[in-house]
Symmetry: C2
Subunit: 730 residues, 2 copies
Amino acid sequence: MSATDTPQVHPAWLPDAAFAPLGSRRVLVAVGPGAGPVGATVVDEVRRATAAHGGSVTVLAPGEALPDAASVRSHDLVLVVASRAAERDSGAARQVPPPGRAPQPPHPNDALVAVATDGALVAADGAPGLSPDMFVRVRAGGTTVVVAGAATGLLYGLHDVVRLGEDAFGDDAPPVRDLPVAPVRMLDHWDNIDVHPVMGQVERGYAGGSIFYADGRVREDLSRVADYARLLGSIGINAVAINNVNVHRTEARLLTDGLADVARVADLFRPHGVRTYLSVSFASPVVLGGLPTSDPADPDVQAWWAAAADRVYATIPDFGGFVVKADSEGQPGPFAYGRDHADGANLLARALRPHGGTVFWRAFVYNHEQDWRDRRTDRARAAYDHFAPLDGRFDDNVVLQVKYGPIDFQTREPISPVLAAMPRTRLAVELQVTQEYTGHQKHVCYLGPLWSQVLTFPLAEDATRDVAALVSGLPGRRDTPSGELPAGGVTAVSNVGDDEFWTGHPLAQANLYAYGRLAWDPEADPVALLDEWIGLTFPGADPRVRDTLHTLMDGSWLTYEAYTAPLGVGFMVDPGRMHYGPNVDGYEYSKWGTYHFADRDGIGVDRTVATGTGYAGQYPSPWRETYEDLATCPDELLLFFHHVPYSHVLHSGTTVIQHVYDSRADAVDVVESWVPAWDALRGLVDDRLHARVAERLTEQVRSATEWRDQVRSYFFRKSGVPDASGRPIY
Amino acid sequence: MSATDTPQVHPAWLPDAAFAPLGSRRVLVAVGPGAGPVGATVVDEVRRATAAHGGSVTVLAPGEALPDAASVRSHDLVLVVASRAAERDSGAARQVPPPGRAPQPPHPNDALVAVATDGALVAADGAPGLSPDMFVRVRAGGTTVVVAGAATGLLYGLHDVVRLGEDAFGDDAPPVRDLPVAPVRMLDHWDNIDVHPVMGQVERGYAGGSIFYADGRVREDLSRVADYARLLGSIGINAVAINNVNVHRTEARLLTDGLADVARVADLFRPHGVRTYLSVSFASPVVLGGLPTSDPADPDVQAWWAAAADRVYATIPDFGGFVVKADSEGQPGPFAYGRDHADGANLLARALRPHGGTVFWRAFVYNHEQDWRDRRTDRARAAYDHFAPLDGRFDDNVVLQVKYGPIDFQTREPISPVLAAMPRTRLAVELQVTQEYTGHQKHVCYLGPLWSQVLTFPLAEDATRDVAALVSGLPGRRDTPSGELPAGGVTAVSNVGDDEFWTGHPLAQANLYAYGRLAWDPEADPVALLDEWIGLTFPGADPRVRDTLHTLMDGSWLTYEAYTAPLGVGFMVDPGRMHYGPNVDGYEYSKWGTYHFADRDGIGVDRTVATGTGYAGQYPSPWRETYEDLATCPDELLLFFHHVPYSHVLHSGTTVIQHVYDSRADAVDVVESWVPAWDALRGLVDDRLHARVAERLTEQVRSATEWRDQVRSYFFRKSGVPDASGRPIY
């Protein structure tokens, strides 16, 4: 724990010590036939843990005769894949459950379950309902048994036991079923192969270089990818797109010349239940294929994509599919040929269909050459206007990937109405783990509470169906999957790089962790997830560590919001510093469509139906009425929907201008209080980690102070209203 | 003149056709002994011109017997170096006249002058007063005679004849003496060897790459430098610093490892009377020499610089000296050692002294980490506060290089009071030919009128001594040199790159031309200089070309000012686009010390003694009183010196806010009118040049419109005052 230690890659939430409770036990593992590389990972994890912590492991080979009951029950932990699932498991995560099969004869694994639980659980009863990612955990007669639907479910069940720690081995407990709500739990990497002159190696990356690429090619040494895959598997992520959605020339060739390298990456993700995807250029037939067009209606274009997909699957049989940013911020797309986005997406989907692949088609399409003088055009409307009319037109292996808000990953936005407008389309909600607009991983900003709000927001069917239900194909908020509605899932931009701590700011690891856990269970309490993360990442630490981390992190998103742009108006970030730091007018006279319209009298964007852009009308009831009416619009979104005078009184009882003044000053007081709180942990956590966080906190105080003073001064100069609190203003 | 011609380097103001009047004549040249490479250039120019245009040339070798009088007088043009001057000339321009000599016996060249002018001029009479750069032109008996003080003067006289064209060969005319006011007429290149990640190959360069460097080294092919040297010699430039004042690691090594390459460059400048300078890092003893310090008081440091200078002069005997940016924007300097800038400058001066070299030490020193909240600190005060107390402390081979305004090359600034505050210091005023703040050579912005105003501004001695006099060591505005006061000169940042037209915007060539001509004669009429440039650059063109160029260019600086930041307040440029385009608050909350303090009531910086930063008090009378008093402060500098309400009525009779509205709208109308005016010249000028200008005019209209609309909207939103003209506002 000396600061002069050679830097090593930080283990994040999987330090060896986190495996001590499991690793000191006697463990029996039976992955069954066909469990493949994921089953092998489960065995390896148990072997590694028991070797380190004094436990033991028995691995029951497929078809091997069961030991006698006493022998089975002498184990503290039994990990077993239920028979039917085990037989069908291919080793890689599946997004679409395979078709049902005829009943099969009993299998030794089912018998093992019955013996291990002393009859408390009979796998044969539960197995038909066990989807591949699902597991059941029970504690009976002093033995903890995890029965999974497939090897992936067993991996997730194993990590459930790791997370529980000693609690997994306490009193007997009835069966608990666990399964992910969303079939797709994905991370997108905006990593470039060639360093982009403005964006760098990783677009919107704040954690060093790429773990995939360096020196203009896929890395020879992909050991960081292997470690990353293990981290992702432990939190249930099952899909990763490995290159930037802005597909430049070199990256486009991953689809062709680079396939051998992509296969090397896929080989590392596969043992952790993660399928590999590529972002592809819609112009590939022209750029890579030398065709004169990329028109979806052109048979040569269709043939080119089909052949390209054939080559990919010949190399990577469990390849996930494509991610596509089309007709967006300069990327090519179907509009160039007079085709719509269903035409475009289906073109790729039909090439992937024979192989079981999926297209993730982004709904982030808007006019990025807007005239700031034109107040009728509203970027917030764009995704709905483009996509809602296409509902029902997308093939069933297309997932429409929709940013959670209508603008672009702001600290606070209303939920995208597109998510409620396309019941016949598979949808994924897109989050941003990388902190583009939330402090560049220089600021503590725990985003679990934001994502929790997004996923549980009751957007549809008179506020009875939340976002998680909408993207997971659930008929209602708390239902189990019915499989009848189109299901997509959750995706997000990763925050990982080749940084020693993975994420630049060590505490930003918690965002990656919480993302995976919320994608699995959107109703999880984000503060409880943070607690989980603390327990894993700092095992055995002094209780002050846990307390202080909660102090810093629990409310950090709201604190960040409080010192940056007020009341949902968004942006006010510095274009010249890649969206870092304050610049109130930074986007006010630009082409990007993100304005606040502040003048000497008031501020905000009128998006009402009555007098504004009509965006509020894109929502179903009751939200259209809630947002339309100044009396019901929530304070935190007031300026997103309304242009109001500075003297407007919020529901909170204060005026808009005084809220601007107070929140910013109060928030900086909070951030300042974190510095001594963190300093007090010196010696209680790893020195290098402590120093890194301390360094970033210093910058956060500086930056938050700059936000406070610029925003307060800007609005004082504009409004002329003095700050009633009398705090300094410039 | 077809647009499909292979691009060639544009000849700028030296096309072959410009030499036709001279080239068709019978010319006699007598450069005399010791005229060296500059004398050879004169001969070469005449040979080239006469070969192209049917004339003839007779070269009288040093010591060769005079032809008979009739033979001499059969020539149309006689170019001759006066005897004494010719004997002492070393070939390279000298900045300090050599000490006087004892009278010499008559020389054949003196007799030649008498014969050629039929006795109208006797060189022996004039020669003692002929400084090396001086020439006398006379037309007598049908022969034009140019007598120069040295080969450099003869080169300048030759180009005087070229500029005059046929007028040089008209009626007999009495002798006209011409000489540069300033001994130093310099250009600084902010060229980098390594491409800087932000600034590129040429910092603040808008004309492609560097003519000196490419691919991380000095170019093998320096033919563009040779052409450039010829252009500079033709307008009297006699000094060039070839690398960026921000000296990075690779560039620092020019002083040591790179000397052979610097010598290759110097060899190309030498024949045109131009001495070569290097920008050097004050930290060189540490960075290059491996010493532990760069402290000026350290004997090892002194010895290091002396040895470095010895090596430079062993390689380049006529090397000019060093340019230094110290303690400025992150560059190292003497402050680190508790020394002042006289200590720093004299350190280098003493190393150069044995070799006749000069240090150009920049006065651009200020706090670039200013807190925008602090209104007491004033960047405008910085140069005076730092340097005025040091007057008299600088060695006489130090020239203090002072930007013309107290901030940074803005479109409009008051003249730097430093220029009046240091009578015992050699001063150079620094201008900026490259259009950093004046439109990046995308906008037509003829800067001759600005520089004319600067150089003839009667700053000192109760408004009797102008800037040109102050930097040239003249006791009064129109006096001839006395040699008694410290003399520096004029320097500027070049606007040249490897662009086909040298300057990106072809019409920006006029700025380089006018700079050289004004450095020679600050009282020249900038519109007349533009006319001169047009005549040379477009010889024989349709008269509409001349008329249109005057329409576009004569007032273009004032037009640019009128659509950008108002009334001398400065900046409002976009930091994210390298100072191009509008961003009213772009520097308002930054560390750079360049603010406008606009609020809902008013705008401007209070720099008065009475209530402001006191900057106005740095001026001598009458300027301190003029600027201090709102009643006398000129409109165009109002907001530089005063914070006023928007309703303040200007001397022009309009309010500040209405001026903001009107000027910007009117100026865009002017720019728009240029497009059809230029289009009408299609076919009358070179097609490629026409197309380039047309393309840039389109961008100028777009950009000027953006300036107009952003500035008008910003101030309307802030002030709430409607535009009385009713023109659109947003």
